[in-house]
């Protein structure tokens, strides 16, 4: 395993993230709006349930939202790389091509973790995260980020152009987010939605965050062990699928043709 190329991909992701301030600001504003505006609004409607304010229940959900958006957007830069030609730099490097997928997946994970850390600092200043088990959170964030990056890499491996990006937002991010336990406990959902949420790997990521952030409550849907098994299992499966898609000759060769300009 070569370390330097891996580091190079991560470093580039960080440099780009810090340079695109608006992307970073948006990543902070989005969850804050959900938590303070929507959370505050629903607080007044639903009052206390499961022995806590709705706004407090929402904290793991919006943290999960940051992980999902952060990792997805970073993973989808793979599509930008394909279009802009940066992928050419990577495919000529002396590395197995599946390795590129792994490096991109890790850099998406890292992007999500950094954004989550920033959000946590903001929320701490606002007085949230009381009673949080920080040790569990330190494991839950990377594990859930890796799962989100996995969803992103699979999506990226199936989209050939940036036009697919908007589609990915609508058809992947939103269903994944809404059909999970991020906004409501899974236990109390109607049967059909409950079953869909159970099939959604993101539900287990949010559940893991609930264990970390609300350890004393009864809003967890699954055990920590099940969460970890599902998250790791899904991440490995996603890595396998994305690598397979990238290495597949049918998908890969037209990509080369596009990358290299016309065939000649």
């Amino acid at each position: 395993m070569k370390f330097l190329p891996f580091y190079g991909v991560l470093e580039r992701e960080m440099v780009r993230m810090m340079r695109q301030r608006t992307r970073l600001v948006a990543a902070m504003v989005r969850p804050l709006i959900w938590l303070l505006v929507i959370g505050g609004g629903f607080n007044a409607v639903v009052g206390n349930a499961h022995g806590m304010k709705y706004q407090d229940f929402l904290v793991p959900g919006v943290l999960g939202m940051t992980l999902l958006f952060g990792a997805m957007l970073a993973a989808l830069t793979t599509v930008y790389d394909k279009e802009s030609g940066v992928m050419r730099m990577m495919i000529v490097a002396p590395l197995p091509h599946a390795w590129i997928v792994l490096a991109k997946m890790f850099s998406a994970t890292l992007a999500a973790i950094v954004q989550a850390a920033l959000l946590i600092v903001l929320l701490l200043l606002l007085g949230f995260f009381r009673g949080t088990d920080w040790w569990i959170l330190a494991v839950a964030i990377p594990t859930a980020s890796l799962m989100c990056a996995g969803i992103g890499m699979v999506t990226a491996s199936f989209s050939r152009t940036l036009d697919n990006f908007a589609a990915a937002m609508n058809f992947v991010i939103f269903p994944v987010f809404f059909l999970s336990g991020a906004l409501y406990p899974v236990q109390t959902l109607p049967t059909v939605l409950k079953e869909v949420a159970r099939l959604n790997p993101y539900t287990y990521g949010v559940d893991f965050l609930k264990h970390a952030i609300l350890p004393a409550s009864t809003v967890h849907d699954f055990s920590v062990t099940l969460d970890v098994v599902v998250l790791i299992g899904f991440s490995l499966a996603a890595l396998a699928v994305a690598s397979w898609r990238f290495s597949q000759e049918q998908t890969y060769e037209p990509m080369i043709q596009v990358l290299a300009g016309k065939r000649g």
Partner: protein
């Protein structure tokens, strides 16, 4: 001819074939390029140049045939052979959002080079290519010529044994094309790199040790540029006039096969003595507008091959 012999064989291809649906992009290609050789692969659009380079650079798999680049089998040791090659694509392979120096750092890290080495070589190469004062400029703000220069720096940062240049000057204006060529010459003077070049601008291939012409995926002619030009003949006779096809057909028994371009017909003249041509001109003076006799060049070789004619009659 005093040519570098393919002793260590920088590139050896045997029977490379690539099929896309019904189209045979590259057809049973045999190629042997020696260490340190400057080799040009020339041919019209769609003749298979780029596909050939992509197969040799392990980016696409040939259907049949085999090749070795820098001693590594491109099928069995794709990753190892990628270590030994540099490639500059027709289109840029740079991150426009990063600066010049950041791009080189990223490219170098991908090649597993330690940051210290990357910094040293970037300095050296940016100096050589006149990009030093732009090192902190975002690539998006560079002109097309400078961006191409940076692309070449990116391609040679890891000091490859074999460099593939796929149309390195395409889309550039003349001053920038000349500048890119000065860089490539400097690079070749500094290193013992083998260079495989494809280009449309045939005058750029004049400096090659050898060139191969490729047509419909097949190699048709290979040789030193001067030798190929000499094989075409001593002179090219260009005759311009109305109804040129008719006239050319009448001249064919006397002058051999010809090429028609618009209202100009071109014949080859293999002898040094042109006095007979003057007699012919007088004989046909009533039909032809103007006769021009000139020395052939690589463009003529290209046109002759692209026209599907044999070089020697």
């Amino acid at each position: 001819m005093n040519l570098p012999q393919a002793v260590s064989g920088a590139i050896k291809a045997a029977g490379l074939t690539k099929q896309y649906g019904d189209v045979r992009a590259v057809d049973n290609l045999h190629l042997e390029i020696g260490s340190g050789e400057f080799f040009g692969l020339l041919g019209p659009n769609g003749s298979g140049k780029t596909t050939t380079i992509h197969m040799l650079a392990t980016l696409i798999q040939p259907n049949t045939g085999s090749a070795e680049v820098a001693g590594f089998d491109i099928r069995k040791h794709a990753v190892r052979s990628r270590e030994a090659i540099g490639i500059v694509f027709q289109e840029s392979a740079l991150d426009r959002t990063l600066t010049v120096a950041e791009n080189l750092r990223f490219a170098g890290l991908l090649q597993n080079l330690p940051p210290r080495i990357i910094a040293e070589r970037s300095d050296e190469l940016l100096e050589l290519f006149g990009l030093q004062e732009r090192r902190n400029t975002p690539v998006a703000a560079l002109s097309g010529g400078l961006r191409r220069a940076l692309d070449i720096v990116r391609g040679v940062l890891h000091q490859p044994k074999v460099l593939f240049l796929d149309e390195p000057t395409i889309g550039l204006d003349l001053p920038n094309r000349r500048r890119i060529w000065r860089f490539i010459e400097k690079l070749r003077a500094h290193t013992s790199m083998t260079v495989l070049l494809t280009t449309h601008y045939l005058e750029e291939a004049d400096g090659c040790d050898r060139v191969s012409f490729i047509r419909k995926g097949r190699l048709v002619e290979t040789g030193a540029p001067r030798a190929l030009v000499e094989r075409l003949g001593n002179h090219i006779v260009e005759i311009e006039g109305a109804n040129i096809e008719k006239l050319a057909a009448r001249l064919e028994p006397r002058l051999g096969s010809f090429l028609c371009e618009g209202d100009v017909a071109m014949f080859r003249w293999t002898r040094e003595d042109v006095s007979e041509l003057l007699r012919l001109q007088t004989e046909f003076s009533s039909d032809a507008g103007s006769w021009k006799v000139r020395r052939p060049n690589l463009n003529d070789v290209f046109l002759w091959i692209a026209g599907g004619k044999a070089l020697t009659s």
